[in-house]
Subunit: 113 residues, 2 copies
């Protein structure tokens, strides 16, 4: 048990949940779980994400030390993103959530309301 509680609005656990409980954060972390990616690779891999949204999501995750950006000694110069140890700790929860979405997609899509 933790002393933190996501039910409390001013608890750091709620802040932590706010940080990661959105589609783009989940998909980016899930994608980086397969290994480091360049920006262009992530943009190609993640359908429907705008460059602005991808940049914002990467910056947010980097600022919170879930991912790190590493400049590559290549020509032309490039950079890649990878999960930090903290980010890797999120990979399990994110994989479970994305797996649930993939497994139950059909049931949810059957909604005619």
């Amino acid at each position: 048990m933790s002393d933190y509680d996501v039910f409390l609005s001013d608890c750091p656990a709620r802040t932590a949940l706010d940080l990661v409980a959105d589609t783009w954060s989940v998909v980016v972390v899930y994608g980086l779980g397969r290994g480091p990616h360049r920006y262009s690779e992530l943009h190609a891999r993640i359908g429907g994400i705008s460059k602005k949204m991808l940049t914002q999501t990467l910056r947010k995750l980097e600022r919170n030390r879930l991912i790190e950006r590493r400049v590559l000694a290549t020509a032309p110069a490039g950079a890649e993103y990878r999960l930090t140890p903290l980010g890797r700790s999120l990979l399990g929860p994110v994989t479970v959530l994305a797996g649930w979405a993939e497994q139950h997609a059909e049931e949810l899509a059957g909604d005619d309301d």
Copy 2:
């Protein structure tokens, strides 16, 4: 393995992920995991949620058959919300994600950027 893929923008899995990958959906499902709740109980339990946002979140989850609203034969009349079988299937992933947030809250709160 599923045929569905959250990386694809037009895949039902992405739609399913969009539905549940937000803080309020996570907290409401997590809360209902402890048993049925009346609206007023949920509102009291979930810190910081406005009535408008709670109503919207409950309607969205109900429309997608993750929760059900049951009218109670009480005086004054009341209603309670509970997870459906589909909603209960989401309880595991949501519990893992909320648990991660509670466990890593301190590390993330240490961010001074």
